[in-house]
Symmetry: C2
Subunit: 526 residues, 2 copies
């Protein structure tokens, strides 16, 4: 029987508070530091590795974290989840995004169907549709091929798929599997849709409308915006649009769409990149095989997350160290710093994934917790960030734990040798240098040039950013966030915090306001 | 005589600590809340207004903040700065970015020249050059017009100009002053340059190489990358490239460039959008008149910052409230949330501006300070953010002060009416709703649906995002950051924290490493 206890009820958590704060500058220096970097590494799926040598942990802290994982029953809770328990207690829903990429445990039946079969069927239907588009069997009214795909969605229907598209665009071009360029319309700001529509050839564009409920205000507004533009161009919107939605939504069986592909209530928006939400746009852009390879990588990472020993389970270990940093060491933020321009929007996706999942202050039973939960996530690609906010990270008064990501090879593999090294070598040299600079610092008599060090970081190292490694990377973070939710005893799968704003916005638009809200409405000319 | 004292030496700071914490939910409710929104607003330049009704301040707190401004001699220090004092004590430099857009005080002479005249001359030289490019008087080797401009730079030479370009792109297209599209190459990741070069017509592209020192590793590497591509295309790089640099840099008088435009050591990278660093790319993209209008807006905001009464000086008031939130209320982060898709990269620019300027732990004399300084800055445009990280902002355990920005009108002014309101009205309704939702919250028996409220925010409201209002917005934040630096008694104009990483990266590339750094280098195949 599972016990869902608050973090501060677990003995290991209390013991962790008594652990000596590891002196990072000391342990990372000299031969001992070298040994640490060699040994404190966990293999991940698809040849990636999670290296945590530059985290403020030692054998003693790790032993307590292992104990914490056992007390919090992390593996058992994950098992419950993938076997179809109602882990999303708030909305009383199963949590099945892992099933979109493979079967981890027992068959899960819901809504009268086997869910793995359901998700696989959607993937296959999308593959068939995409292949027909690429083959010129599904064409526009003039009988011409579609050249562009435009995703209309917001939040999880936008950030994840967009980040994944950008992550694979160059790789796909290099490997001859780039099929169509993709664009994204998300914001209700009319300039977003207008600018995208100005920049594309609408007559050869296929639009993917993504809304699970079929009622998301921004998305329906942008759909109308797009339909308007299509009609003005003398085109029939129904011949240019597909829907990704739940089977019960008003969009599901509508004649307004060329086709509809389905997700369900068991896939949260921020966990939906591997469902039809990411599947339609990515399969159209890069072909179904690339999307399948991406799912494969994610599934392999899920399998790694099954490992019961936290020291061999990268997502679980990452989660445990993160909670130690947040709740024992007291750091409020985490920066995600990919040394890969292709991952330029990956931090924005993780920002949603993490902050929307674990930015809670009640536990899964609706009781307030007495400790801090999800941290603030932000980040930009390196080396760009080095010339920007790294100043504060190195010498500011708030310590921010860092999550580096780096690959040995670039995606396009086009490079130049300047001053004895390639750009890719310079990129990698910089990330290696930063880890050590943050950890060890450097004493200087001039305090303005002094580096305290003691800034913890981890790094995920891979050979190259490919569909497989991207899938593994994505699933790593999804599983990390899930394990942290278990540790904090919160429900990581609902998002009640977004509701109040929606309710009040509707009131403003209906002119049913008073007090401060009425004055703001007036100031904004609504 | 100016006194440069630490924040905790100022009596008003100690008094602020004894102030009663304003109950935001209470004061923002009912008729009193409406009055607050009406009265707690300061006019800014170019018709913008800074509204701080939803901040945790009242008359008593404001009185202490006014006292704090006096004790910290904020106005006097600004006066010293714009009159040419060596305010950048670390590097022993003047700080003159305000002079790039107008004269605020006395003539400032340095390097044997009047600096306002120097910056104006560069602006005029750029204008002349841009006009010739647009008129087809400066052309490529085949005698054809340039159609594209590509900025090569990193950090301040990238983030600010890129954010400004994106902010004005739609506006310029709408108003018939869009001259050339701009692209940006920044990261040393070879995929960044490769991808940009793949997407443009190099034969009709003009490249702007931006490096003050002429020695920035990433920028010189990317320059070589670009030159390589130009040569491979049978083109002469010297006919496709201009430089923005200091007069003493190796790039200044080189035959490798069509022209060179100058900045100097008194303009920090993150403050350089209004100098030649932003001037070249923006004048080429939109024409010199648009750039001049942008400078005008910035200058008007600088003039507003001269006001000695903090309650009439939006940048100073914003700074004071921010320090109160950071040092008295203890909030570690600030989110910047523009309800304008055109400002999509504005938060990334402010992240650099703020975190690189005030992420310090020693005062201007190099002595450690006993209080926290610059906060963590992050943000994404609304309404996108609402469907992402707002969950944590509403219901998480860490309170994050918010800075909203909104405009009554869109830029393209193309809109559709759906369900009785336009997209722009929906956008504005959402920001109004969020302010009140964050401040007042909403009680619910179901704790999972409960909103505590008491989340402070401010909003800058304008009519439309134009060159003038963008300039005013930019200068507002520059001046805010400057005033906060004065309050914290730090030097906001150096960035020693970026040096150690550079030194270590060089060592890695020279294979002069040992210990942890050697092992990381090996893991990354350098």
């Amino acid at each position: 029987m599972l016990k869902w206890e608050n973090l501060d009820q677990l003995p290991a958590f209390q013991e962790l508070k008594n652990e000596k704060h590891v002196d990072l500058a000391e342990v990372m220096t000299g031969a001992a530091g070298a040994d640490r970097v060699k040994s404190m590494s966990v293999p991940m799926a698809e040849g990636l590795a999670y290296n945590y040598a530059a985290k403020e942990v030692d054998e003693s802290v790790l032993a307590k974290l292992v104990k914490l994982a056992e007390e919090a029953q992390l593996s058992e809770k994950f098992e419950e989840l993938y076997n179809g328990a109602v882990v999303n207690t708030g909305e009383k829903r199963l949590v099945l995004h892992q099933l979109t990429r493979g079967q981890l445990g027992k068959a899960v039946e819901a809504d009268g169907t086997d869910k793995r079969a359901f998700y696989k069927k959607q993937q296959d239907r999308i593959a068939e549709f995409a292949n027909k588009v690429h083959a010129g069997e599904i064409v526009n009214a003039a009988g011409e091929k579609f050249t562009t795909v435009v995703q209309i969605g917001i939040g999880g229907s936008d950030l994840g798929p967009r980040a994944m598209y950008l992550a694979l665009e160059n790789w796909a071009r290099k490997h001859g599997c780039f099929k169509m360029e993709a664009h994204f319309i998300s914001n209700v700001d009319p300039d977003d849709a207008s600018a995208v529509l100005q920049g594309i050839d609408v007559a050869h564009s296929i639009f993917v409308l993504v809304s699970k409920s079929g009622t998301t205000l921004e998305t329906l507004t942008n759909e109308s915006f797009v339909k308007d533009a299509l009609k003005k161009a003398g085109l029939d919107p129904a011949k240019h649009m597909i829907a990704v939605t739940s089977e019960t939504s008003p969009l599901a069986k509508s004649a307004d769409y060329l086709a509809a592909f389905y997700m369900d209530d068991y896939i949260g928006g921020r966990y939906s990149s591997t469902s039809a939400v990411g599947g339609a746009v990515l399969s159209l852009a890069f072909g179904p095989d690339v999307f399948a390879a991406f799912l494969d990588g994610a599934h392999k990472a899920d399998e790694t997350a099954l490992e019961k020993d936290p020291l061999k389970n990268p997502a679980m270990l990452d989660a445990l160290i993160g909670v130690y940093e947040r709740n024992v060491l007291g750091y409020p933020c985490t920066a995600v710093l990919p040394y890969s321009q292709a991952l330029s929007r990956f931090p924005a996706h993780l920002q949603q994934l993490d902050m929307e999942s674990n930015g809670k202050s009640v536990n899964r039973f609706g009781e307030p917790v007495n400790y801090v939960t999800g941290s603030i996530i932000f980040g930009e690609p390196g080396t760009n960030g080095q010339h920007s906010f790294y100043q504060l990270l190195h010498q500011g008064t708030t310590i921010v734990p860092l999550q580096f990501i780096a690959f040995r090879k670039s995606q396009i593999e086009n490079d130049v040798d300047i001053q004895g090294s390639t750009s890719q070598q310079k990129l990698c040299a910089n990330v290696a240098a930063q880890i050590v600079a943050f950890a060890c610092g450097k004493k200087d008599e001039n305090r303005n040039k002094n580096f305290e060090g003691h800034r913890p970081s981890s790094i995920i190292i891979g050979d190259q950013l490919t569909p497989e490694t991207l899938g593994a990377l994505l699933a790593h973070y999804e599983n990390k966030v899930m394990f942290q939710g278990f540790l904090w005893n919160v429900n990581s799968f609902d998002q009640e915090g977004v509701q109040l704003g929606k309710v009040l916005a509707k009131r403003v638009l209906a002119h049913e306001t008073e007090g401060a809200l009425a004055v703001y409405s007036e100031l904004l000319n609504i």
